[in-house]
Each structure stands twice: as C-alpha cells, then as structure tokens.
C-alpha cells in the first residue's frame, strides 16, 4: 500500500499532466442586446436568434445582457463580460450608437464583435474586429431606392427618416442613391422617435405632391405613419425601411392599411421560400411564441457562422477574426462573406403587402448589391 504522502504526490503529478487549457477553457459568448427602451423589439429578435443558434450547438455557454438604449450601459456590459478570459467573441447590440461605443473596446481586448446593426459608419472606421451580418445601409438603402425608382418608376419621392444615427445614416444613403439614379426627393424631414402625431409631417410632405413616401423609421413610428397616412386618405405607395417587414409592426395595422406598403429587408422568414426557412420559422414560433423577422434570422446566421469558426479551430481572438474575414458561410438568409471591412451581408429583398393579409410576399431580390461577392 502506498503511503498517504506518496498518494498525494501522485495525484499532484497526475493533475499537472492534464493540459491547462482543457481544465480552464469554458468558452462563453456574451450576447449584448437592447431588451428595454425604444429598440427593445429589434433587440429581443436579435436575442432570440442568437439563443436559438447557441442552444442548438451546446459547445459554448452564453449570457444575455440588456444594453438598454445608452452607450454607457453597453460599454459597461461589455467590460463586465470581457473580464472572463474565455470570451472569444461578443455578440453586440443592434443599436448603432451603442456599437460605435463598443468598437474601441473590441480593438483593445482583441475580441471579434458580431452585430446586425445597419449603421453604415460601423464598418467605415477601419476597425478590423467588427463583423456586420445584416446588410448595411450601403446594401439595403440602395435596394430601397432602386425599387422606388426602377420598379415603381417614382420621380418625386418624399423621405421621412428617424433622427437617430440609424435614421440619419439611412437617409444619407437614400439621398446618394437617388441622386445616382437621377431622382430628386421633393421633401425630407427627420422625426424624433417620440413623435406620435404624424399629421404635420404628412401634410408638409403631401403639399409637395410626391408620388411615393419613402420611410426610414423605427417600428412604432413606421406603423404610426402608415396608419395615419391611410386614415387621411393618402393612398400613394409607401416603401418603408426594414422595420415594416417585422411581423410585430404589421400586427399593429389592419391588413387593408397595408395595401400598397412595401419594405426593404435583409430577408423575410415568414415569407417562406425554402423548406429550411419554413422549418426555422416553425421552430422559432414554437420556442418564442412569436413570428421571426429578418433581425432574428440574421443574428441566427451570424451566430452559426461564429460557431462554425469555433468548430474549425478558430476559437476566439485574432484567429477567429481572421477566419471570419477569410471564409464565407451559407446561411438561411444569404451567403455571408466579408468585403474586407467587416460587412458580411450583401443581399436585400423588397417585400410588399397586398392588403389582404399581414404576411408580405417577396417582390424583388437584390443580390450582391455592393458587389462584394
């Protein structure tokens, strides 16, 4: 029989022989999303998509943190999350102002930051650690403007946009694309997210005799404007931003109010199109009791690409960044591939409501809009 001291010595030797990484590595992916505040609807969709992918994989743990609406809260959440050395990547909030605040942190901690925020500036600052999985304004607003000008043949659009960073970024891209298409907007106005009565904006816009209303607003304001426009008897086409594709936005309106309303988006899960898409939508409904939207699907695809990178051996930090930058991924919504700046998504769709139901059909697909593929 071995003496006690000898037994203890052998245990210590045995433990020391186990690779340190095998003992210490508990891979974790923080999910930082706005679950409260004016962007909570989109943030909840983002959370749901991420959770669906992470729970299906089971090779990592994850923690969801609410970033609210202020950049400071997002920064604090990320700093708290990054105290864990086993965080290889971070899923960042959809809110552009928060993402802008997180970019320096991602660079400082050398952690890839995956987002679905559409604010263009995020990938224009030379930060190699950001990867955007929702088509940016350079894709969606181009598709938006092209549909208005080329498919509807509109010559006199009136643009109503949100005064947030998201809204102003979108407006700038819309204006640039319209100019390149030889179309001059007849009216433009920025709306604060708190505005409830759209009548003043609508009366000024209609006074300029537009042939289409082009919206780039968040969910609630989009629905408000569509409802109030239809209530005033304004029946010209309305082509809205991605908020209008969301089932929760359409649910605020009667089907008849949606007649003549279209929206741009990265995708439209509830519009179907493939058996995999329909399965995703059914699984999402079963798990969360709500309809999936493009934000949920984009985050689902983004998270699956993160997990694919991990399974390929790029578990975090610079190796993960390099893998994401070099590889493409066949997601449910589209094929994702970096353009060198971190923009991974390059396709967009235009969905339109026929006035009979709240489920839109895909009216037009735009692939490789920024020709990065």
């Amino acid at each position: 029989m071995l003496k006690a001291t000898t037994r203890r010595f052998l245990v210590i030797i045995g433990l020391a022989a186990i690779p340190a990484t095998a003992l210490a590595e508990v891979p974790r992916i923080p999910v930082l999303v706005p679950l409260t505040g004016f962007l909570s609807l989109e943030g909840t969709a983002q959370r749901n998509g991420a959770v669906m992918a992470l729970e299906a994989d089971k090779s990592v743990t994850f923690e969801v943190s609410d970033t609210g609406t202020s950049p400071e809260v997002a920064v604090n959440a990320m700093e708290r999350a990054l105290r864990d050395i086993h965080v290889g990547a971070v899923i960042g909030p959809i809110l552009g102002t928060q993402m802008l605040a997180l970019l320096p942190l991602a660079e400082e901690y050398r952690v890839p930051l995956v987002t679905i925020s559409g604010t263009a500036k995020l990938t224009e600052m030379g930060n190699p650690w950001i990867f955007r999985f929702f088509p940016g304004d350079a894709v969606t607003k181009v598709a938006h403007a092209r549909y208005v000008a080329e498919e509807l043949g509109a010559k006199r659009p009136a643009i109503l946009f949100q005064t947030t960073a998201y809204g102003q970024s979108g407006r700038a891209h819309l204006a640039e694309t319209f100019a390149s298409l030889g179309v001059a907007p007849v009216y433009e106005e920025g709306l604060d997210v708190s505005v409830k009565d759209m009548a003043p904006a609508l009366s000024k816009a209609m006074a300029t005799n537009p042939d289409v209303l082009v919206l780039h607003l968040h969910s609630g304001p989009t629905a408000l404007l569509v409802r109030q426009a239809r209530a005033q008897g304004i029946d010209i086409p309305i082509v809205a931003g991605s908020a209008m594709h969301q089932p929760t936005t359409a649910a605020l309106l009667e089907a008849a109010e949606l007649k003549g309303v279209c929206a741009e988006s990265g995708s439209s899960p509830i519009s179907g199109g493939s058996s995999e898409m329909e399965r995703f939508a059914a699984d999402y409904r079963r798990k969360f009791g709500s309809e999936p939207d493009a934000f949920a699907l984009a985050q689902y695809d983004a998270t699956r690409m993160l997990l694919a990178a991990r399974h390929a051996g790029a578990v975090g930090g610079a190796p993960l960044r390099d893998w994401l930058a070099a590889n493409s991924f066949e997601g449910l919504a589209m094929t994702y591939k970096s353009d060198g700046k971190g923009n991974m998504a390059h396709d967009a769709v235009i969905v339109c409501y026929d006035g009979d139901s709240r489920i839109p059909r895909i009216a037009k697909r735009y692939k490789g809009v920024d020709q990065a593929l």
Binding site: L35, F38, S40, L41, D197, A199, P200, A201, A231, E254
Partner: protein, 290 residues
C-alpha cells in the same frame, strides 16, 4: 383649412394630455410633491386596454370604466408605496420614490407584454367624419368628448361636492384640514386614485391612435410637467391650458417648421415664461414648487 385640420388634431391630442396633466396637478396639490410615475401610469392604462380586449372583446368605451376603476386601485397602491412612508420627509423624497416606481412599472410592463408597441381597441370603431373639407377621426372625436366629460366631472366633484371640498381643503393646507377633522390620509390616497384613473383613461384613449409601448411613460410625464409649469404650478386650469399648448406646438407649430424646431420653440417658450412670468400663465399656488 389645413390649419384648422391641424388645430383639430392638436385639440384631440391636447385633450388626452390634459387628463395626464390634471392627474399630475391633483397629486401635486394634495401632497406638495411631484408624482413622476404619472407618465408610466398612462402607459399602464393603455396596456390594460390591450389586455382587457383580449378577454372581453368590446369597444374601449365599454372597457373605460373597468380600466379607470382598476387604475384607481393601482393609484391607491402607488400612494401606499411611494408616498405614505415618506409623507413626513421633504417632497423630493416622494419625487425620487415615484421615479423608482415608474421604472418598476415600465420594466414590469416590458416583462409582461414584451417590448413591441401595441394597439388598444378604438372607443367606437375606426372611421372618420368628413365635413367641409375637414376629416375628424372617430377616435379623435372620442378623445375630445371623453376627456371633456372626465374633466367636467372632476370639476363638478371638486367644486360642487362635500368630498370635493374636503379634497380641496387637504390640498390647500393639510394641517388645518386635519385639525378640522378631515381624514387627510384618506383624501391623499383618494387623490392618487383619481390621478391614476385619469392617467389610465388617457392611456386607453391614446393607445389606439398612437399605440403604446412600455418606454412611453417618460414622454408623457415630461409633457405634463411642462404643461403645469406653463399654466402655473398647482393651477388646475393652468395645467389644462398648458397641456393644450404643448399639443398645439406638436401639431400646428410642427406643421410650419419641423418637429425638432417645434420642440425647440416649445422649450424656448417655456424658458421665456420662466423668465418673464415665473408663476406661469395663471399664477401659481404659493409655496408649492418642487
């Protein structure tokens, strides 16, 4: 004609804001403190309409009494939680406690209903009246009529009833009222209940036309606060006038300029009133400012 249309829109919106401001000033007068949860109580009223229509699919006009009664009960709870334990402390304590309660209400609504905007049932149904080139939505008309009836009812209660006299006595001087045998604690609780009922009515009225989401409370309390400052701190009539002015800036002035400018002009007008006539347009109740 377009101006008249915008004025009508503004009056409808102002009528709903007036209910919020009226509840705000009732509590202010009764306690000397600001109830910062008033805006979140408006949102709670809207969501109550959303929830009730799922259980009792009726027009909102028939749900209104139930919403107001339930909100009144919630008002009693607000009084018990945010005011009663702090009644002998400086008014700023109630200010802070109601801020905290408002956040709890907001997050509770977010947890219960989710973050997305919701719509409550219309008072009488969709549609609009058109006459002489003007269009007035059924809902807008309902807001004006219901708000006018409620404000009139409060006016009669306060001015023509024994209960109203006791409420006014409590608002004017709680110590003297207590010395006269008026149950001051009960009057304060009743005031909170009335304020919450009015907030609930405003929420139900607004939630159909303008939707409701958990984060909306902050906007309503800011508007109520501005209305009360413009009208005169503690003045009921001033609060109503101030609320109407806020709404007209959001509709008529915003139609001439844009929303950002209209908002700036509203705050500039507020500053001008504070500089030129700090007691507000209708004067203020002395010694009540908080």
């Amino acid at each position: 004609m377009e101006l008249l249309q915008l004025v009508i829109n503004g009056v409808a919106l102002g009528a709903a804001y007036a209910l919020v401001a009226l509840g705000f000033v009732l509590v202010l007068n009764a306690t000397g403190a600001v109830n910062f949860a008033q805006g979140d109580l408006v949102v709670a009223g809207g969501f109550m309409g959303v929830a009730l229509v799922g259980l009792i699919p009726l027009p909102a006009i028939l749900l209104l009494p139930l919403v107001m009664l339930t909100m009144a009960a919630i008002g009693l709870a607000v009084s018990a939680l945010a005011y009663w334990p702090l009644r002998d402390r400086p008014p700023v304590s109630v200010f802070i406690s109601t801020i905290a309660l408002g956040i709890i209400i907001q997050n509770g609504l977010n947890g219960a209903f989710g973050a997305e905007p919701r719509t409550a049932p219309a008072m009488f149904g969709a549609g609009r009246f058109e006459f002489a080139g003007l269009a007035v939505g059924h809902q807008s008309l309902a807001i004006m009529v219901v708000a006018a009836l409620l404000i009139g009812g409060i006016h009669l209660l306060l001015g023509r009833s024994q209960l109203g006299r006791m409420l006014r006595a409590t608002a004017q001087d709680r110590e003297v009222a207590a010395a006269l045998g008026i149950p001051v604690g009960g009057m304060v609780a009743l005031t909170f209940a009335l304020a919450a009922a009015l907030a609930g009515a405003a929420g139900l009225l607004l939630a159909n036309q303008f939707f409701v989401s958990p984060a909306d409370g902050g906007n309503f309390i800011v508007k109520a606060y501005i209305a009360v400052v413009i009208g005169g701190w503690g003045r009921v009539g001033g609060a109503l006038a101030g609320a109407m002015l806020v709404a007209l800036f959001e509709t008529v002035v915003a139609a001439w300029f844009d929303y950002a400018v209209a908002s700036g002009l509203l705050y500039a007008a507020l500053l001008a009133i504070l500089f030129v006539r700090p007691q507000g347009l209708f004067g203020e109740t002395v010694g009540r400012r908080a």
